[in-house]
Structure formats: C-alpha cells, structure tokens
C-alpha cells in the first residue's frame, strides 16, 4: 500500500509545490510592487518637499510703525518659486514682544503683516528684532528702529 501511494505522490506533490510556489511568489510579487510604489512615492514626495524647502526665498522688504506705536507693519516679499506660509516673531529691546501667525504669501508677491502692540505701544528709540519664520523652516531677519 505504501508503495502505491508513493507512485502517485510525485506528480501531485509537484503540482502542489508549484501551486504553492506560484501563490506565494505571486503574493510576494504583488507585495513587492505595492511596497516599491509606496516607497518610490514617499521618496519623490520627500524630495519635492526638499526642493520646495531649498528654493523657498523671501525677504523683509519694509517695516514701519503706526504713529501711536500700536501697530508694526512688516512687508514680506516672496521672491521664490513656491508659495509660503510664515509666522512673524517680533522682539523689542525693552522686553516687549508680538507675534502674527499663518500668513500665506503667493510666489512672486508680497504681503503686509501687522503685529499688534496695543496696550504696550512701541516708543521712539526702540530697537525691534523681527524674525519671519516659514513653515518650511527658513527664516528672514530684520532689525528696525522706531
């Protein structure tokens, strides 16, 4: 009986093993393709983000304050090739400070960003340090004397 079973098993075993190899291999193939697509897409997206970060350019073009000192206006010019979103941090030498967040500036245009000093206005002679910080972690600095 054992001998008869062995006589049939090589063919069946070959078929079974082949089927198993094809099934596992096909699955592996599909997984590899999916994984490589995901990896490639992530890599491309990361690279393009890096390109945007590298090519981002902006400058503080002009600064002025209102007569009563309660508003500091900062003009930021985005002369790079990508749109930017910036946060502005202002420190005054007397300890006063102000911030304005989330200002979007389209590539090639400028925006005037107002920082409020209501209640503790800027005074003549104040030295104001301005930092414009983009969401891609680039910065522009300017010092302004009231």
């Amino acid at each position: 009986m054992l001998g008869i079973r062995r006589a049939l098993s090589p063919v069946i075993a070959t078929i079974i093993i082949s089927a198993a190899v094809m099934a596992i291999g096909g699955g592996l193939w599909a997984y590899a393709q999916g994984a490589s697509t995901v990896i490639a897409n992530d890599y491309i997206n990361g690279t393009l983000s890096l390109v945007d970060e590298i090519t981002e350019r902006f400058v503080v073009e002009w600064v002025s304050n209102s007569v009563n000192g309660e508003t500091l206006t900062i003009w930021v010019y985005n002369y790079g090739a990508v749109d930017i979103t910036v946060d502005v941090y202002v420190d005054v030498d007397d300890g006063n400070y102000g911030t304005t967040f989330d200002t979007e500036i389209v590539a090639g245009s400028y925006a005037s960003i107002e920082v409020s000093f209501v209640g503790d206005p800027l005074e003549t002679g104040d030295e104001v340090s301005i930092k414009v910080y983009s969401w891609r972690q680039n910065s522009a600095y300017q010092t302004y004397y009231v």
Binding site: G3, R6, P10, A13, T14, I17, S18, V21, M22, G25, G26, L28, W29, A32, Q33, A35, S36, T37, I39, A40, Y43, I44, T47, L48, L50, V51, I54, T55, R57, F58, V59, E61, W62, S64, T73, W75, Y77, Y79, Y110
Partner: protein, 250 residues
C-alpha cells in the same frame, strides 16, 4: 524503487527553483528596478534645483542698481534707475514712504536713465519722502540722493551727486571735477575735487558730492596716466528743476 524515488525528488526541486527564479527576476524587473529609476530621477531633479537656486542666489548677490528721485514740474516724483550690473534686472516695486507702487520695468545690462513714474505725493510742509526700489530678485535699494524733503515751498535733497563710472581699459585712473565759475578773474573751470580710483574687473565707480558747491555747470575729466580718456562738460546741476544725481560714463 529506491532509485525512482530519488529521481522524482530531483524533478520537484528543479520546478520550484525555476518558478522561484522567475518570480525573483520578475520582482526585480517590475518592482525594484523601476523604483530605483524613479528615485534616481527625483535625485536628478533635486540636484538640478540646487544648482539653479545657487545660480539664482549668485545673480541676486551680483545685482546692483542705483536710482535717484526728483520732482517734476507738477511736483510729482520721478524715479530714475541705473542698472549697474552686467545682467538684466527688473524693478517690481517703487516705495515712497509706506506706499508700495507695483511696476514692471525691465532694465538691460548697464542700462541707465530709465524713468519710472511720476508718482503723485501729498505735499505738506516738512514732508519727507524716503524712496526705495525692489528688484524681482529680492534686492531692495535705497535712493542714492537720500531722502527728499518739502520745506518752505521748496524741495530739499540730502545730497547732490555726480557719479563717474569708468569702464575703459586700465587699472588706475585719475578723476578731476571742475565747476564753471568766476573765482575773481572771469569765468573759468575751477577744480573742485580730485580722486584716484582703481578698476579691478568690471567698472570703477566714483561718486562726487557737490552739495557744497551748489547748482551750476560741472565738468569731469578722467585720465589714465597722463592721457585724458574722457572729458565731459555741460553737466548741469539744477536741482530741483532736474535730477540731483548726474552720471558720467568713461
């Protein structure tokens, strides 16, 4: 029986090896290699952008413009721009105090005398007009004539300048400034200032401030050694009826 059994086992190994190899090669050519090709493409784009932005930054650093502002007959302000670098440039904004005026003025390399404006301004006693221009590359330039002031019904400028730009061949130049006036023995050219300038590539630039000597006719002589290479008179300073900055190109 024993021999047949061994042969069957060998056949089974061969089939699975072939299939496995085919699958491996298939994965290699349809998934792994395309992935590396795409990644390589992204790396190439990144390197290109790095090079381009480095060139852009260099161009920005080399960009150089000067300008002056004068009031026209209607007391509107006119901006006159000079491109001082061997690259084209574009002015995108003219600032008069806190008012940005968007423009789109393209200047050829070394092009001068390009007028922008006029701009209407509110004339009040003691009003000061601080002017700047912004280039497309992100540079901001101040007026070479300083702030303008409207005082006592007249325009006052911080400085009156005669700028001399020397592009002629040579290294050391002597620049003489004369004014047509009467020192006591009749009208003649009277030497007012002198400078020795060096040109190391590009152009040499020498500004003469003439606020002290006031309006009138000036003459500039440029010498290389003992040879006169440029002699220009008829430089009429008549501020505020004309520009506060005059340019001489030798």
């Amino acid at each position: 029986m024993h021999t047949k059994h061994t042969m069957c086992r060998r056949k089974k190994r061969g089939m699975s090896s072939i299939l496995g190899t085919l699958i491996f090669v298939g994965i290699l050519f349809t998934a792994v290699i395309p992935m590396f090709l795409v990644m390589n493409e992204a790396d190439i784009i990144l390197e290109q952008e790095k090079r381009e932005i480095a060139c852009f930054d260099e161009e920005k650093a080399r960009e150089d413009m000067s300008f002056y502002v004068y009031p026209d007959a209607s007391d509107d302000l006119v901006v006159v721009v000079q491109n001082k670098c061997p690259m084209g440039a574009k002015v995108v904004r003219v600032w008069i105090n806190d008012d940005p005026n968007s423009v789109s003025t393209v200047l050829d390399p070394m092009e001068g005398g390009v007028e922008i404006g006029p701009y209407d301004v509110v004339l009040e006693e003691g009003a000061i007009f601080n002017c700047r221009i912004t280039s497309e590359r992100g540079n901001v330039f101040d007026s070479s004539s300083g702030d303008l002031e409207y005082s006592g019904g007249m325009w006052v400028v911080e400085t009156k300048l005669i700028n001399v730009v020397i592009s002629a061949g040579g290294v050391v130049f002597k620049v003489y400034l004369y004014k047509w006036e009467d020192p006591g023995g009749g009208l003649q050219w009277v030497e007012k200032d002198y400078a020795q300038v060096w040109k190391i590539g590009g152009s040499a630039f020498k500004p003469f401030e003439v606020s002290l000597w006031g309006n009138g006719e000036y003459r500039v002589v440029v010498k290389r050694g003992s040879n006169i290479i440029h002699d220009e008179d008829g430089l009429i300073m008549e501020w505020p009826d004309g520009p506060s900055t005059l340019w001489v190109y030798a």
